[in-house]
């Protein structure tokens, strides 16, 4: 086995030379300290200072949340929307390993990495948002567990999934540091983690919807339905596909790599189908609940139409077969669908929410926004470091073995 040192030039293949197995993944290499890197670092620093303020002065010192809106953007954006962005790893693992579509493999590892950061940093946001964060570990202790709580299920599921994602991503580390034996051993067990990696998001992404069922009349009839778990699962899937398309196009532009055209075409198709199912089911749900009039006057009507228009526009862009092979259309279509998903989840958690005894209003404070920006910047920062130094991206022209 060659020494670890042989891997240290950024553009060298991750696998030890002389091995019969050829690693299809390669670190991208290049300088680490770039302009985007420094800008992200600046935002991380600002976010850090604001977090310190929150821990010294209480939640109200930084955030605009109140007893009317006890959950603000840290929950809705960082956790509920952020974790949907983390569903890229979920849908790609499903396609590659469960449906056995080997051609999707080039997209799996970057997707798993994006998920790992998405979930890891959602966890960080939760710690910032928890009013009694020092008791956080009670979530994991059986003698505190309250099995009727949907949040307990979400919490346990997400915690386990973060571990699963780490294991799923571990081969990249093991390859980078030439730990061939460990990699092979892990590979033999990896199928267990792949299976869990598909089961867990199915559970907690749908439960994120179930979480709002109990608020009852405090959620506008535009969004309050027993189908919330189904809709949250569908948005997780369609956003997962959206992220894969969006991220692949972005990576090909930013790092000047060719797109994985044939594969992206199919992912875009799946995104289109899932979005169509979602939109149609929304209308069926209105009809079943006798709420077909809700889109014309219920609380949050405007944002319902924004949400629906984004989904429809996104579908229209990628509807022509040809569009699904063009970078521009793929980028626009996936962006629109992702925005639709963002607005849907925002609507369920904030816009459509009607506090019990009003009047209350909520709009995030600048400081609150910058905490979220800081967490997102940290995500970008870590992503840049990882893809440049670890074998994450498929090597240009590499065939899957």
């Amino acid at each position: 086995m060659s020494s670890i040192l042989s891997d240290q030039t950024p553009n060298s293949p991750g696998a030890p030379s002389g091995s019969t197995w050829v690693n299809p993944h390669k670190p991208i290499g290049g300088r680490l300290i770039t302009e985007p890197f420094l800008i992200a670092l600046g935002f991380v620093a600002i976010g850090g200072v604001l977090m310190a303020q929150r821990f010294m002065g209480g939640l109200g010192a930084v955030a605009n949340i109140s007893d009317g809106y006890p959950w603000g953007m840290w929950v809705a954006v960082d956790v509920v929307i952020g974790s949907a962005f983390g569903c890229a790893g979920y849908v790609m693992a499903f396609l590659a390993y469960i449906m056995n579509k080997g051609k999707y493999h080039p997209l799996v590892r970057p997707a798993v990495l994006a998920s790992l950061f998405g979930y890891g940093l959602a966890g960080l946001a939760v710690l910032v948002d928890l009013g009694r964060y020092w008791n956080f570990y009670h979530l994991l202790l059986p003698w505190y567990a309250q099995p009727n709580s949907v949040m307990l299920e979400v919490g346990l599921c997400v915690a386990t999934y973060t571990i699963v994602l780490t294991v799923e991503f571990a081969p990249a580390f093991l390859e980078r540091f030439g730990l061939e034996n460990a990699r092979r051993k892990l590979n033999r067990l990896l199928f267990l983690f792949v299976a869990l990696g598909v089961l867990l998001p199915t559970m907690h992404q749908s439960s994120l919807g179930t979480m709002m069922v109990i608020v009852g009349h405090k959620l506008s009839p535009l969004w309050q339905t027993q189908l919330l778990p189904v809709f949250f699962w569908l948005t997780a899937v369609l956003m997962g596909f959206g992220v894969v398309v969006w991220e692949s196009v972005m990576a090909s532009l930013c790092f000047n790599r060719p797109t994985e055209k044939a594969v992206l075409r199919k992912v875009a198709e799946l995104m289109l189908v899932t979005t169509a199912v979602f939109v149609v089911l929304r209308i069926v749900d209105f009809a079943v609940r006798g709420q077909l009039g809700a889109p014309f006057g219920a609380h949050g009507t405007l944002m319902f139409w924004v949400e629906t228009a984004l989904f429809l526009a996104g579908m229209l862009v990628v509807l022509p077969k040809k569009a699904r092979t063009e970078r521009k259309a793929l980028f626009l279509g996936s962006s629109l669908v992702l925005f639709g998903g963002i607005i849907y989840r925002l609507n369920v958690y904030i816009v459509g929410f009607i506090p019990a005894v009003g009047p209350w209003s909520y709009f995030p404070s600048l400081a609150e926004i910058f905490v979220t920006v800081g967490i997102f910047a940290l995500e970008v920062l870590l992503y840049l470091i990882f893809v440049k130094t670890l074998p994450v991206m498929h090597a240009v022209g590499a065939k899957h073995g």
């Binding site: 009670h138 949040m151 109990i214 009852g216 009349h217």
Partner: protein, 340 residues
């Protein structure tokens, strides 16, 4: 395993459609015929609570002061009150992390007469209603909110609480509050002065109420009293008890004789709302005017959310079956080549 693209997509689409249909059928059935709904929880046999009679309340707020003293809560001065209140008066207008019990006023037009909807005014007392099927208890992931099996009092344990504020979000009556101005904030809500009840003393609000507008007792007795009151006609003479309706807790108190001045609404708030509450209210002004949610189901929202959750996860059979299938497929599809 080879599938053409079209074949694969149509298979995937058909599979998803079947799964979605099954899921929809399971969760979207009409509430009354909903197999997913968990049965409502009965009122505990020895449930205790308060009966608030808006027509008897004179708005003196002695209960607000007594509650603060009994529970060690601070004076509350809203930001828009600082011009005339430097902190010497307690002037809460709503429940908060500083106020567990508050008297609010409804006003309309000239406010000429008490307990009249138009050109009148009325009072309403807000505190925890101690639901038979409380959402706050159902949502709490770490058992910090609990309902006493015997008395039904809903209590909070700050040592268990992680501060997620799901209870604040979910309460249909807007009762639990959090202390946003403290780095170690906790949830605050009325716990029916359980520390005083333990010493055979009345909850502070019902202890000091001069007119018996806030009456303590077993929920069953209070419900009977509420039914008696809403049946009263204006002009009738009647007796209004004070303190504990049974005269046991805190000792026997004299009530008072009075002529019924106004017609009661034929609505006992808390009798049916969301599965029933241990604290009840009667009034001459409709309850929606008093800012209480009125158009609500007769079963608590936990019956729906727990119904969905416990059906999908019953015995963890569903997830276990799904996992077994996934493990099989993942194993088959990865054994002959490197996973990456």
């Amino acid at each position: 395993m080879t599938l053409s693209r079209r074949n694969f997509l149509s298979k995937a689409a058909r599979g998803s459609a079947a799964a979605a249909t099954a899921a929809c059928a399971a969760v979207a059935a009409a509430p009354e015929a909903n197999a997913l709904q968990r049965p409502p929880k009965p009122m505990p046999a020895e449930a205790v609570g308060l009966l608030y009679d808006s027509t008897l309340c004179i708005g003196c707020k002695a209960c607000v002061k007594a509650c603060k003293d009994a529970n060690g809560m601070p004076v509350e001065v809203a930001p828009d009150q600082t011009a005339w209140n430097g902190g010497e008066w307690d002037t809460p207008v709503e429940l908060s992390g500083k106020t567990l019990n508050v008297i609010k006023a409804y006003t309309n037009g000239t406010m000429a007469e008490k307990d009249r909807e138009t050109d009148g005014f009325a009072f309403i007392k807000r505190q925890c209603l101690h639901c038979a099927d409380p959402s706050c208890v159902s949502v709490c992931p770490v058992t910090a909110m609990t309902k006493d099996a015997r008395t039904g009092i809903v209590s909070y344990n700050p040592d268990a609480c992680i501060g997620c504020r799901y209870c604040v979000l979910s309460c249909p009556f807007g009762v639990p509050k959090y202390e946003y101005d403290s780095p170690t904030g906790q949830i605050r809500k009325c716990q029916l002065c359980k520390h005083r009840l333990a010493e055979n003393q009345l909850p502070a609000c019902s202890d000091v109420c001069p007119t018996g507008a806030t009456l303590f007792g077993r929920t069953e007795d209070l419900k009977a009293e509420a039914k008696r009151r809403v049946a009263l006609k204006p002009g009738e003479r009647t007796h209004y008890p004070r303190g504990d309706i049974a005269g046991k807790v805190g000792g026997r108190r004299d009530g008072h004789e009075a002529t019924v001045r106004v017609a009661y609404q034929q609505h006992i708030y808390g009798e049916k709302e969301l599965g029933g509450t241990q604290c009840l209210a009667v009034s001459a002004v409709p309850f929606d005017k008093l800012n209480l949610p009125t158009n609500v189901p007769e079963t608590g929202y936990p019956t729906v959310s727990e119904g969905i959750q416990h059906t999908l996860y019953a015995g963890m059979v569903g997830p276990a079956t799904l996992l077994a299938g996934l493990v099989y497929l993942a194993h088959r599809n990865t054994k002959d080549h490197d996973v990456d």
